[in-house]
Amino acid sequence: GESVGLHLPTLSVQEGDNSIINCAYSNSASDYFIWYKQESGKGPQFIIDIRSNMDKRQGQRVTVLLNKTVKHLSLQIAATQPGDSAVYFCAEKSSGNQFYFGTGTSLTVIP
């Protein structure tokens, strides 16, 4: 039978509201971070990145905040739309140039 996986953290928001997805990373030496969006049955898709010499970066409807003091990353999505429903992962780049992913957050947008 199918094995039981970990339960993803979930977030439900109303269409048009703002969403905030959080991520804690593990390695204080990590210098590059990426947020990925993964829709069902597809591979992860790049959303936005940030380097450790920055604490904020904005894209179209998305903003990433980096707090190196507490090793925390957040993704803010403005005016969330039904097409934003997906699982969101943060990834950190190690000093060895490998990318390690968090567990992910499942975002559901309620029309």
Partner: protein, 113 residues
């Protein structure tokens, strides 16, 4: 620009059988990664290639998993013999540089019965 291509998209095998997955990265991308994504979890790095050389395979279960990238372009990931816990999506990703953004393929979903 063509993306990362993977095949097969789906594969069902019985335990102890073998399986192979193929990946063709984006043209010109020197770095290639294989990730394993178990249902409900984030992708876990199995192996990273730089051209045809292995950069990191510390999390690859080498008693049953193998991967190669002989000509520095396409790559093959093999599992032999498969176990039930190998049921997962196997994602291939490539990047232009070792420290650059990863571009993922659609993945190969493996079910081991």
């Amino acid at each position: 620009e063509a993306g990362v291509a993977q095949s097969p998209r789906y594969k069902i095998i019985e335990k102890r059988q073998s399986v192979a997955f193929w990946c063709n990265p984006i043209s010109g991308h020197a770095t290639l990664y294989w990730y394993q994504q178990i249902l409900g979890q984030g992708p876990k790095l199995l192996i990273q290639f730089q051209n045809n050389g292995v950069v990191d395979d510390s999390q690859l279960p080498k008693d049953r998993f193998s991967a190669e990238r002989l000509k520095g372009v396409d790559s093959t990931l093999k599992i032999q013999p498969a176990k039930l816990e190998d049921s997962a999506v196997y994602l291939c990703a490539s990047s232009l540089a070792r420290a650059g953004e990863l571009f993922f393929g659609e993945g190969s979903r493996l079910t081991v019965l």
